[in-house]
């Protein structure tokens, strides 16, 4: 990362701390917002948050590593997360998984070379009555069929 990008990130984080407050209870909302904007929380970002909240960086890393939605590695533009819990499983999630792997050319847990798509499983989305269901970034897609999945992927810009 370039020095100028780092200082941009520092400014951004200090604005977030100003907005949410520098108490420990603001840690999660701050991290969630960094995750949402950048798709991940880099080591540098974790250090900077720790500095401004006056806690040890290990404390921040402990929190980041605990929550499934907070990532340290670079995420693709479209993070596709397919629900694998029981009701979606019964609703033939396997056919959706197969379609996604075939169309994107990657397996679950992988990222496409152009960093456009990443594919992973997720636990219960609370869409059990409309399975199979998946999230693309924070948007939810339900009652999936292989054809519908191809259409959805087609429509991603």
């Amino acid at each position: 990362m370039l020095g100028s990008e780092l200082s941009d990130l520092n400014i951004e984080i200090s604005e977030l701390v100003e907005k949410h407050g520098n108490g420990r209870q603001s840690l999660l909302p701050i991290l969630q917002e960094i995750q949402k904007r950048h798709g991940h929380i880099s080591g540098h970002a974790q250090q900077e948050v720790a500095r401004l909240l006056d806690i040890h960086p290990v404390e921040v890393n402990g929190v980041v590593s605990f929550y499934a939605f907070l990532k340290t590695g670079i995420r693709a533009k479209y993070n596709i997360r397919l629900c694998k819990t029981i009701s979606c499983e019964l609703a033939n999630k396997a056919s959706i998984a197969k379609t996604l792997e075939r169309e994107l050319g990657i397996k679950f847990g992988e990222v496409t070379k152009d960093e456009r798509y990443s594919l992973e499983y997720i636990n219960c989305l609370g869409m059990c009555d409309q399975g199979p269901a998946m999230l693309i970034n924070n948007e939810v897609y339900t009652s999936l069929t292989p054809h519908k999945v191809i259409e959805i992927l087609d429509n991603l810009k």
Partner: protein, 390 residues
């Protein structure tokens, strides 16, 4: 998606001006009305709500907090999603009434990260109540200030456990605390905190509108009132249903159009699996308690595969803090894989069932205490079928 059958409590007209009536009452009278109604916690544990509120109301503390637990993560449960979409205002009013009753100024809604797309809707409902002076300073001209803040989870099932949820709100890893002390005594930032399920809080304005007696007369002696049930799996009409407590499994299956049923999972992954022969059992705290999830399996389903799905879930979602849950769930999952390959001796299976019992009594929180439930109930009820290939 609305509630599919004829609603009992969750019909718009039942809420009337319950909120305004409540704010005209003395705080302690709200607590008494909730206690009289017999309302119990709808998240699954079933602690009497009035008693919890009474403990918080009588506590002497500089600050008190309310947390609406909307971290609905139990597989097969989605009734809170429907409530927060269709009855957003009643959920918020329930939180405010609780605040007034126990003497608190701040309430949090802890919404699971998976429901991020609902944030704008909930925030605009909060703003609407602020504009109507039903939230903020001097609510409806009374000497009562209250604010609600929406906070998000980040994909950890264990945060549905109340003390883990509080840890998460405080900015920590969502690792459950030892209980006691309970949150109602030592909760958020060490202050008395009422943690209630979305459904519990949303029921309160209806109770205050139509009276405790109206509510008491629904359901059974030990389980008063109604319950929202999320139905999924092999049924014709999946969705959310409202039923009076005491409803028989037979009637529930008919309502949702279940055919050729083999088994029913009651209470989600951490619940109990019963065979379709147990049709006369009923949904209530005294027989089959549930936080609101029913998953139906038909005769084409392989029960071992279902069990494997549940155990994989618990291995991933265990927070890893205590040994019985962290290692125990792994051992149970290994056992399922061994059974699948025909490599698990019956003697070892008995060992695993006994390990499950140990996990029930030695795990630190509800997750570990209930995670062996599907293992024990599926292998007890469907053991013959599963071991038929032996």
């Amino acid at each position: 998606m609305p509630i599919l059958n004829k609603p009992i409590v969750f019909a718009k007209e039942n809420f009337g001006d319950g909120f305004e009536k409540g704010l005209k009452m003395k705080p302690i009278d709200i607590v008494l009305a909730v206690r009289e109604s017999g309302l119990k916690g709808r998240g699954g544990a079933g602690f009497p709500t009035g008693t919890k509120w009474m403990l918080a109301a009588t506590a002497t503390a500089e600050k008190k907090f309310i947390v609406c637990n909307a971290d609905e993560g139990e597989p097969g449960t989605f009734k809170d999603r429907v409530l927060l979409t269709e009855f957003t205002e009643q959920v918020l009013k329930g939180i405010i009434l609780c605040g007034y009753a126990i003497g608190s100024q701040v309430g949090y809604i802890y919404l699971r990260g998976e429901y991020d797309y609902m944030v704008n809707q909930i925030n605009s409902a909060i703003q609407k109540l602020k504009n109507e002076n039903k939230l903020g300073k001097n609510i409806l001209g009374k000497d009562f200030d209250f604010d609600i803040e929406l906070r998000l989870g980040s994909g950890a099932y264990v945060c549905g456990e109340e003390s883990a949820l509080i840890e998460s709100l405080e900015g920590n890893r969502g690792e459950p605390r030892n209980r006691p002390p309970y949150p109602v005594n030592t909760g958020f930032m060490g202050y008395p905190t009422v943690v209630n399920n979305v459904e519990t809080l949303a029921t309160v304005p209806a109770i205050l509108n139509l009276g405790s007696d109206w509510y008491r007369n629904i359901g059974t002696d030990k389980s008063r009132g109604s319950k929202l049930i999320s139905v999924s799996g092999d049924v014709e009409f999946p969705g959310v249903y409202e039923i009076p407590f005491g409803t028989k499994i037979k009637d529930m299956l008919e309502l949702v159009g279940a055919k050729d049923t083999k088994a029913i999972q009651i209470g989600g992954a951490s619940g109990t699996c019963i065979s379709a022969k147990e049709l006369n059992r009923n949904l209530s705290f005294e027989d089959l308690p549930t936080g609101g999830s029913i998953i139906v399996f038909n005769n084409s389903r392989n029960m071992l595969k279902i069990l494997k799905n549940f155990m994989e879930f618990f291995v991933e979602e265990s927070c890893g803090q205590c040994t019985p849950c962290r290692i125990g769930n792994k051992k149970l999952l290994d056992g399922v894989n061994m059974i699948e390959k025909g490599e698990c001796s019956v003697a070892y299976l008995k060992e695993l069932l006994s390990l499950g019992e140990t996990m029930r009594i030695t795990s630190k929180c509800g997750l570990g205490q209930s995670s062996p439930n599907p293992f024990i109930s599926i292998l007890t009820t469907f053991g013959d079928e599963i071991l038929a290939t032996y």
